[in-house]
Each structure stands twice: as structure tokens, then as C-alpha cells.
Point group: D2
Chain length 404, copies 4
């Protein structure tokens, strides 16, 4: 076998790259495809890569992996842990880590390409391999589509892909219908009046305003969303002040929202604005906060019929006990854009990535313990085997279900 999955994975893990900076990763993907004799198009949507493997008449299947990493300081003790740093879009020097497992996705897609090339006599049709940039900022799929993806590679009949998750390695999880939440990012800038730290009475303290706002934002989920509805409202960033003895003029909150229903989403966004305004008024703020909505992408809806068919193929390949229904998850994905833009169905599944012995409480309710490092944690460390082998096989099995 030409591709050493473990070696490829460790190399990618050790060299993570931020969104739209995936030059090294894209080169590995492109070189890997070319080494297998697959035609490659590069620089789609800035750093995206697509390979086309045409193998006679038949359906076209798009397999997708995302490539970008996150500004997280890795705290695993792996010998291939990242020590990389990069400059983020705001010009800050930040640590970088594959804390969301996109390195698994890239590795598995290369492995699947090799397997499909090696079994060309067993199937017919066309496979498009997409290595997408910038999933973490929610715009990479759009960027590839806007940059003419489907003018440059064949339009698919179905889009398939996977995401590594805090479930036992060896398992795949597929949920029909709304499977991944919509996500919205909202930036709230609270305006106070700066001054000397010793004279708060001559200022309007934005740090206190921000703290009160964060506490109040918790009540959106606890008081305004019904038990039968779902919303997650996370203040992921909170920044105020440059010097301890200065009361700064403002404070900025970065708020991430997850919902499955646009009515709920709209209520959450309206509540954020109402709360920010109310807290500004309580502080006697000189003006109302700025509330800006950023990066937003919709619910990922797994096509019911295609999902049922994929589940059947997985059960045949892995045994029914290794195919679970995780329910809908609050994570979000922009991969749906690749299907929506082509007007075709999508099936996107979870790939278990952690040591099964961690799951002492069972899988019944789809919940993992706070002790199990999940995606975006500085401790997130997928188990290499059998995660990579299962991920390769899942892509091949699902693709072959359509390729015949």
C-alpha cells in the first residue's frame, strides 16, 4: 500500500493550519491524489483541492473532507502534538491545533481514494474527491462553489462525508433528517466610557456590563426556550481592556448559537439584542451596543431515503452493532452547501474516534461525560486505530453503494 495512514495522520496532526491557510495540507492532498493517477484541480476557493476519478458510465459521487485546524493550544501529551503557531485574521499570533479532527478526515479520504483506485474493476461511475478549506469559519464550502467548483469538476448525484466524534472508535453514527444544527455567530460590542481604574464613578464600566450580559444570556436557554425545543448559546470569546488600571471604553462578546428551527433561532437572536440593550440601559451606557451577525449556516438535513440506503450498506459492512443513531447533534457543518448547490441529496455521518473503554456510561442517550475530551478541546486526541481504518472503509462502502 502506498499510503501509510498512521504516518500521514501524525504528520497532518503535527502541522495544523488555520482556515484558508491550508497550503501544506492542500499540497499533501493534491500530491496524494496525483500519486494515485487522479486528475487534480487546485486553489478552488483559495486553498481547496478537488480530484476526479472517472471510471466509466455510472453515477457521480462526491466525497468530502475538510482541512482546517483551530487556534487552540494543544494540551495532549502525544509525541506528535502540535507546537505550531500562526497569524490569525486579526493579526494576532496564535497557537494552532487539529482540535476538531479534520486531519482524520483528510487522511481517510486519501485512504479511500487509494482503495477506490485499487478496486476500479469492481465499480463504475465517477468519484469526486473534495478537500475543502475553512469549514471552521463556515465559509469554505461556499468559497469553493462560488469559485466554480461545479464548472471544474462533474456535478455529483450525491454528496457523502464524515466527521470524527467523541464516540467509540470502530462505530459509525448516522441520523436521517435534520442531523446537524444551524449555527450563527453574533458579535456584541458593549459601549461604556473608559477612564482611570481608581475612579469608576467617572466612567461607565463595560467589564461589569459584559459580565451582567453573559449571566443574562444564560437565561435565553434556561427561561425562553421550551423543554421540547433546542438551542445552545455559547459566549466563546469575551475581551475587554488593555491595562489593569484602566477601565476600557468597551467590551466585545462573541456568541455562537445552535438551533434546528428558524423560529427558535430568530427568538434567540432577538433575545440577545434585547438583553444587550437592557444591560446597556442598566449601566447607563452612552449608546446602545452594536450587534452584528456573522458566519451563519443552516441545518444539515440528511436525505431520508439516501440515509436509509447508507445505513443498510454500513450494517452489511460493519455489523448492525457498530452502526448507531446518535440523534441530531448540536454541531454544525457547511458540507450541506456542496449538496444544496448541486441540488442533490447528502448523507453525512459521525465516525467514532475515541477509546471505547472511556464510555463507561453506555451510549444509550448519546451523551458523553465531561471527562471525555470532545472536539475543540485542547485534549482532543482521536485513537488512531481502528478510527482511520473505519473511516476509510465507511467512505468506500458508502460510495460503492451508489457506484454499484
Amino acid at each position: 500500500m502506498a499510503i501509510d495512514l498512521e504516518e500521514t495522520y501524525k504528520d497532518l496532526h503535527e502541522h495544523p493550519e488555520l482556515s484558508y491557510q491550508e497550503h501544506r495540507t492542500a499540497k499533501i492532498a493534491a500530491d496524494g491524489l496525483r500519486a494515485l493517477g487522479i486528475d487534480v484541480v487546485e486553489d478552488i476557493g483559495r486553498t481547496g483541492v478537488a480530484g476526479v476519478l472517472a471510471n466509466g458510465d455510472g453515477p457521480t459521487v462526491l466525497l468530502r473532507a475538510d482541512m482546517d485546524a483551530l487556534p487552540v493550544a494543544e494540551e495532549t501529551s502525544l509525541d506528535y502534538a502540535s507546537t505550531q503557531r500562526a497569524t490569525d485574521p486579526d493579526g494576532n499570533d496564535v497557537p494552532v491545533m487539529h482540535a476538531c479532527g479534520h486531519d482524520v478526515h483528510v487522511t481517510c479520504l486519501l485512504g479511500a481514494a487509494e482503495a477506490l483506485v485499487g478496486s476500479k474493476d469492481e465499480w463504475h461511475g465517477t468519484v469526486v474527491f473534495v478537500f475543502q478549506p475553512a469549514e471552521e469559519v463556515g465559509s469554505g464550502a461556499h468559497a469553493m462553489v462560488d469559485d466554480g467548483l461545479y464548472d471544474r469538476v462533474p456535478k455529483p448525484d450525491i454528496v457523502l462525508g464524515q466527521h470524527v466524534a467523541p464516540a467509540p472508535a470502530g462505530v459509525v453514527g448516522v441520523h436521517a433528517g435534520p442531523a446537524f444544527a444551524a449555527t450563527d455567530d453574533v458579535i456584541v460590542t458593549l459601549h461604556g466610557e473608559g477612564g482611570h481604574g481608581s475612579r469608576p464613578e467617572a466612567t461607565i464600566d463595560p467589564v461589569v456590563m459584559a459580565a451582567a450580559t453573559v449571566m443574562r444570556l444564560q437565561t435565553i436557554v434556561s427561561r425562553e426556550i421550551a423543554g421540547g425545543e433546542t438551542a445552545v448559546v455559547t459566549v466563546g470569546t469575551l475581551h475587554a481592556g488593555t491595562k489593569i488600571n484602566i477601565i476600557p471604553p468597551d467590551a466585545t462578546l462573541g456568541i455562537n448559537i445552535r438551533t434546528y428551527d428558524t423560529g427558535v433561532r430568530d427568538r434567540v437572536v432577538a433575545a440577545i439584542e434585547r438583553i444587550a440593550n437592557g444591560e446597556a440601559a442598566a449601566s447607563g451606557a452612552p449608546r446602545m451596543p452594536d450587534v452584528e451577525t456573522l458566519d451563519s449556516f443552516p441545518v444539515l438535513h440528511n436525505d431520508e431515503a439516501a440515509t436509509e440506503r447508507t445505513i443498510g450498506a454500513f450494517r452489511a459492512a460493519f455489523g448492525a452493532e457498530r452502526v448507531i443513531d446518535p440523534g441530531r447533534v448540536t454541531g454544525s457543518e457547511d458540507v450541506g452547501t456542496l449538496a444544496t448547490a448541486a441540488g442533490v441529496p447528502i448523507v453525512y455521518w459521525l465516525l467514532g474516534g475515541l477509546d471505547p473503554s472511556l464510555f463507561t456510561h453506555g451510549l444509550a442517550n448519546g451523551t458523553t461525560d465531561a471527562d471525555i475530551p470532545s472536539n475543540h478541546s485542547p485534549h482532543f486526541a482521536p485513537l488512531i486505530h481502528p478510527t482511520l481504518e473505519t473511516g476509510v472503509q465507511a467512505l468506500v462502502v458508502a460510495a460503492r453503494e451508489w457506484l454499484g
Copy 2:
């Protein structure tokens, strides 16, 4: 007259420098002293400058100005407003502004040097002019003393100096006894567990922990300090998170404390630690917060007898109506270190710097309106005249009181 006060001031204001980066300012001070024929020692305590003007037998008077500016983005609309940026000690690129008026201090001390040189036949003794770095981080005076200040210039009999303040221009304010508060900086790092923004249940959210802590810190002053005591507790910086959809592993609060009494100070510091621990426990934090005490300097105590003598001189020079007692203020100053290290008294006064028409509510209770931009505000803009002239005269009058 060789020194154009207004031009010097505007030039300094337009070119502010952070603590220990006052190279340009120090050069202006040193060149200015040398142009007056005064002996100069440079690079004391990194960027400090001292000049010695010996004029026969008599007492030695030390006049002090501090030189550093702050990481504040200037929001005045002055045509000499700063647009400077610099790299702060953490490596971040930050805006810089003379938001505390040290440019006034430097200008006035140069003006006083010129006046004292020009009137040498009227007085006897020695004047030491000290241009001190890094007052804002509380270590500049120490740095100069530790770097052998009093081995390199004569030890003074008295230390004198002034700080521009949000009082009417033309006025000086002097308070005998404890006049400026002690200040302590405390850094609290709250530890949570990071993870994906969509799955808070798998994390311990440090942003919520930080917000709850900020709200609780308010209760130290509101509930634990008696009506007859004084403490100010300001959270000047609050930073958490690098990306909106990631729950970060920790959050950091920078807390500034002002007190006049060590018992009160100790209670405040103990309460901060108790609250941080309690809030961490409420969150189920994986470990207790780190609470680190930084930059700390004591109460500035104006010598009673020397203050009374200075007030007399000021009244004679300015008229009684321009000499007020502002009471003790919650601002802090490390200038006391220059006196303590020499074992001599100090008199340090406030120099009114704002348009008198702003003070519609009178001065009776020493309080200014939140509408009047005070020190450290991005809107702080001293009135040039008669602030500079008054500042020069105050230094000369006070110095001459000792020089005979």
C-alpha cells in the same frame, strides 16, 4: 525663551511611548536639560533621565516628572492626537496615548528647569530634575533607585512633583497626610475545561465562571467594606477565548485595587481569592484559580509640615482661591519611592488641567461628573493654557520655597 511649552507639549502628546519604551521622550528631556547647561545622566532604570543643577550651597530639591503613556486608542479630535501604536510586553500591537497627562509633567519640568536656570541669582542650592520611566506599571521609581540613582545624583532634602487632574486649569490641589491610595494589581486565572461551542455539557465554561466572578467582585466594596472605609476594586481586563465556536479552557481577570489602609487592603485581597475559589467551585472547575499579586505600591503620604509650607507658598503665589484641598484621592503614585529611598519628605500635588467651565456642579465635594473625561479616558484632553504655565510656576514656587 528657548522652550516653547505648547509646541513641546503637542509634540510629546502626538508621540506617546509605553512604559520603558520612552526613548524619544527621554531624549527630548535630556537634550532640553543639556541645552540649558544642566548636567545629564541617562539610562537610569532603563530609560530614566536625571539632570543636576548645582548653584552653590543650600538644600537639594528633587523635582520629578514621569514620562510613560498608556495602551489606549485616543478618541479626542485634537489635531495633535496620537495615532501611534507599539508592541506591548505580551507582544501585542496596541494603540498608545498620553491618556494620563505625563506629557504635561515632562513639559512643565522642562519649563521649570529653564525658569530656575534663568533665576539662578535669586536662589542657592541644588536642583535634581528626574524624568522617570514606567510610572504606569508601578516600577519606574524603583527601577531608578535600584539602578543607583542616588549614587549618580545628589540625595535630595525633599522630593516635589505634580500630577495633572480633572480639576479646573489654573488651580493646584494639595492634601496633607495620606494623599494617594495604595494600589495592588491581582491577576486571577480561572480554569475551566475547553471544548466545542455546541457542546457546553462536555465542558466547564470559563466565560460564565468569569462573568459570575466579576459580578461577585462588586460585592466586596458594596457589602464588605464599611461606609467609613475606602476601597476601589476594578476589573480592568477580562480576556477569554480565541474563536467564537470554541469554549476556551480558561479566562483571565486583571483586577486593580485602591486602598488607604493595609487592613482593608488585606481584606480585599482575601475576598478576591475567596470569591474566585467559590465561583470555581460553583462551576465544578477542575482546579482552583491561580491568584497572582503583581505591581503593588503603597500609600503616598505627603509630609504634614512640608505640605503646610508648600501650601503657604502656593497661596502667596496663586492667591488662596486657586489652592484647594482635594482630599485624599484614589489614584496612586510610585513617586513616594524616590522620597522613601532617600529617607526624606515628599510633597506631591494635583495640577488642574481642564476647562473651568466644565465644573458646573462646583468643586465642593471633590467629585467630577462622569461627563468630564478623566485620566485614562480616551477622551482625556488637558487644556493647554493656563495648565502648562501653572504647572511650571507651581514647580518653581515649591522648589524656591526650599531653595530660599
Copy 3:
């Protein structure tokens, strides 16, 4: 017809009685049954009433209505609004209102009794009519069972009942499986140290401790419960202090919890205790809070097969468009105890009670607007027609499904 539904309902509405004080209501129920020739047993579980209508061989069906009202001050402008007051178990004089619609339940069950008596030649078997006390405090069903209910009336083959809800009048809502949440009440008493309102520094303020705890309790749902899980945590009562200028020694929170899963319930209870302890520690409390668990009853689980059969009967009677699946609701019910104690299935449904024109947003997501007064609101005012007629018919239709 002997029973005037509207008149009975208005009379009950105007004369609400607190839990275990339903003497007048019980008498109306007992007298009504007796007037129909039904055998009556009174004073079961203090104020409970049961009637037995034996009509030849066949199954035994138990139909249940609860009788108690709530300490709420009615704010409807109905001409039959309650102005009643009563002494609650703590000895306080409180207003009383049928804010949860148990008056509808009693009226409909009397109407159903009359209808079943009038149609005795169409069915065979036995109907047990249960008028239960004290549903609101969660102990009335237990009290009747413990007081020998099934020694005094025939043990049923199935338990049936209904609850009026903020859905359109004319509609019934049935959900198979877990249909009503488990509920737990937790009392948290926070201990501070009392003292004079002017000298907080000599006290530990329990009001601030309580406020911080309430804010923190919101984070259980917002941060500790996954998007796919359900919990509701409500602080329904908060009491502290007797006089404005006294800082009281303690504060008491009454917390109501709703869950569908015992794992989630246990996490919520543990989090309440952790937060209360953490906030007490942050306050420097003299001792840890008392956390006491009260009234607790489990999930109401509608038997799948029996529910399907009931839905079929409802569809036939009402038309499919008037039979909805409301999903599981976060309300709770102790009626399950009557089935569990007999070891038989239960089907319990919702009865729409509000003007259909209020539901402008549709019923699709089972959510009602904050503008629609729901159960326990001082504005809760069921529409008399067709609510009562539908409720009578639903009881008869469901009972007849078993009675043949």
C-alpha cells in the same frame, strides 16, 4: 339533562380550594354522582371521592379528575373570577384560583358520568369515577391509594384521564410513551449572618447570596444539559427578610425541576447542591446551605398500545384534524400512581382549552406564545365552549373504547 356544564364549571371556578381543602368541591362531585344513582365512597385520602357504576360483565375503566386549586391571585376579568382566600399549610392567608383548570376536569367528569349512565344499554362493564385531591402538591393520588382506594372500589383494567391545556378548544392531544415529565421540588436555605442594614460589613448578606445563586442556577440548563436532553429548572419561590433595614440571617429558594431521564435529574440535583455550596463559599457563609428534596413524582408513561387504540377512537369521534400529538410536555402529573398501584396501563391526554384564534403561529411546533396565558398564570381562562363538551366526549369515547 340534569347537569348544566357551564353553570357547574362557573360555580367551581368561583370557589376554588387548596390541596386537601377540597371539601366543597368533593361534596359537589359526590352529590352529582349520587344524583345519577352512582354508589359513592367519600373521604378517601382525606378529601377524595370515588363513584362506582357497575353495568354487567366487562372491563373496569377508571376515569380520573383532580380537584385542587392554587395560591394564585386571579387577574382575569371574568364575572365568575375567584376572590377566595384560604390559609395555606404554613399558616399564611393566600388568594386561591383554579389557575390550572382542575375545575374543567371535575365538570367534564360529572358530564361523562351522566352520559355513561344515560347510555348504559350501549356498553358493559364497570366505570370507576375518581375525584382526586392534592394533585398540585404531588401527593393526592398516593394518598388515595394508601387510604385503600382499591380495597374500596374495583381495581381497574385501565386508567384514563385528561388535562386542560393552552391548545385550541375542540382539540385533544395524545402522546405515546413518556408524555409528562418527572418533577422534583428542592428547597435550598442559604445561611448568612444577619445584622443592621447600614452595616453590611458586619454581616454575610444572604440576599446577595440568593441572587447570585439564582443567576448561577440558570447555567444548569444553559451549560450542563446537552441540546438533545431536556431539563427545566425554575426558582418558583424566593423569600428573604422581614424588614427593609435589617439584613436577614438567611434566604430560602424553592426550586422546581422537570426531566424525562433519571440521569439528567440526578445531574440537575447534584448541580443545584454544587452551586449552592459554591455560592455560599464565595460569600464566606458561616455554614453550607441546607438542600432538601420534597414532593417528587416520576415520568408519566402512556402505554403505547393503549394510546394507539385511544387515538383511533378519538379520530373516529372527532375527525383526524382535531387529534394532535403535542409531543412530550414538561408538565407533570401524579395520575400515573393510580395505574402503577393497580399494575395497569394508563392513557392521559391534553384537552385544548383556549380560543383557537389565539394560535396565530400554528401548532406545528407545539409551542405557544408568551402572550397566551398558560396554566398557573393569573390570567388562565379556559374557553367554556366547546372545551367542556369536548372534554365530556373525550372521556366517554375513550371509556367506551374499552367498555365495548
Copy 4:
């Protein structure tokens, strides 16, 4: 001696009475005066008592004691602890305790009357003994004046009185000028929308609104009052809810304010209203809170000259070491009304009432430890000796200073 101070005190302590309910206490006072041959007027300002002891020409001195107790549940383990209960003005049954030491005041004033009667040949003039009701609700002095006090007894030349305090027994504390703070009570009623505890999404939760408001109110003192100013803002009562599973429609906060400056007072009251409105807006409240100002009385200003004269008399009688200056205190007193209404000076002092061994930290800063039970605490327990003897002597010494 006819009056047994200890026995009288214990009897009063064991039988405390709420404001305007001091019937038993008033009778003890009136009977005691009459037994000494003093003329008595009863029922002035509802339950007030005044005695007049005319002893020839000379000045008229008014000595005042207040009589009422507080709705506090006594937690001392004294064998004469109160177990009394009473009906408060809202109709609630509440515990009652002499938690503010007015029993000491009554006892000492009876003792002083006996001493002055016994020494009539040593002085000349008139003494008016006033036993005032309802100091705790701030209206008792007004009530007596409005009810014609000075038509019924001679108008005094000076008003004298004392308050027992958490200072060492045997000590008296006198402060010239503003000595006791102004006090204002503000009631804030926050309006939400009530409903079922399981369906917060259909309500506006006033408990959360109240908690957020309490946390925010802390920032008035911590952020809006300068270090050199004084304000105390205490939420002494917080009540919401009647039943744990009902979200109530509103919540009520009772807020007590202490200030020395009307500008500060006005800013505090404005900030309370601003914060309440802001928090209501953040909650999406159906209407803005009701903010009502109650019981308000001004700063008690000890006449400078009269105070100096009294201090001289105290020093001569007790020795200088037993006469301290406690500074101004944040407690409030309506006794000033008796002087203002007569247009005469007042001197009002503190009477130490606790075991001196408790004061391990010294008296220097006038602060007592949180461990020392202060006025209004359920643990407040004055040391009987020498508190009572010192209190009697202080009244006699001060009165005799004017009586000659």
C-alpha cells in the same frame, strides 16, 4: 434604690413589641416615672410617653429613649431571650426581638430619672423624659411632634440621647457634626408574567429579574460612588412566589439606603430606578417596575458646640480613655426630629454595649469584626454590666452639664 436596672432590662428584653405596639413597654415607662413622682403624659403619637420633672428655674433638657423592637427571631441563648411573636402591619405573624437594644435605652432612661429625682437639690431646671415609639420605621418622633408633644410638655433647650452600639461596654462615643446617616427606603416591584413552573418560555420570570437586579444594585456602590463618598445600599427584603411550581407574576425588593450627602442620595435613588428599568427591559417585562420611596429621614447633625461641651463633661466623669470619637456612622436616627421641631441643638452619642474582650483588633478604625454580633443581628446581646450603669450615668452627666 427602687429600680432594679438588670431586672427591668431583662423583663423588657423578654417582652419586645413592634413599632406602635409598645403598650406594655409604655406602661412600664409611665408607671416607673409616676412611682418617682414625675408627671406623665401618655399616648402621644399613639404609644409615646413623656414625663416632666420641674425643679425650679433653669434650662429645659429633653432626654429621649426609643421603645420599639424588630421582627427578628432571637438566636441568642440568653435565659431571658424573647420568644414573642406579633402581627406586623401586613398582617403576617412574625417573631419579635429587641435586636437593636431599645430595651437598654428605656432601662437607662428610667435609671436616669431616678438619679435626677434623687439629686434634685444639686441642680435646677426642668427635665423632660421622652419614651418614643416607632423609631425603627422612622416615624415615631414625627408622630409625637405632630401629636402636640411641645404643647403638652415644655419645649427643651437641648435634646440629649444615646444608642447602644457594638463597642466595648463602659465606653461612650460622640462625634460632632453629621454623625448618623440619612436613610431612605425604596420598594421596587418588578413585573413579569406568571405561569407554570414547567413552562418558563410562556412566562417572564420575575425571580430571575429580581436576582439580576440585586446583583446589579451592588454596582451602585462599587462603581458609581467615589472612594471619598459614602453610600450603603442594602436589599433587606426580597419576596417572590407562593408555590414552588408556579412562576409568580412579580417580585418585590425592599431597599435601604444610607448617605451623608443629598447629591449622593439622589444619584443612588436615580441609579436604582435606572437599574430596575434596565433589568426589566432585559427580561422583556410587560411593564416597567414600580419604584416607591418610603420612610426617609435626614442626617443627624450633632451641634458642634454642644457636642464639645458634652465631651468635656464625659471626659471629666469617665476619664478620657472611655470617651471615643467613632466617626460618623452609617446608622440612622429620627431623634433629630425632636430637636429640629423645637429649633434647638442635639447631642446624641453611642453607648458601648459589648464585652470588651471581643475587640481584639482594637478600636482604631472604628470597625468591628463580622464575628461581633451588631445591632439587628439575631445574636445581638448587650452585656448588662457595666452597660446599663454607664448609660444611666451618661444621661445624668450630660443633663447635669446643662442643668448646672
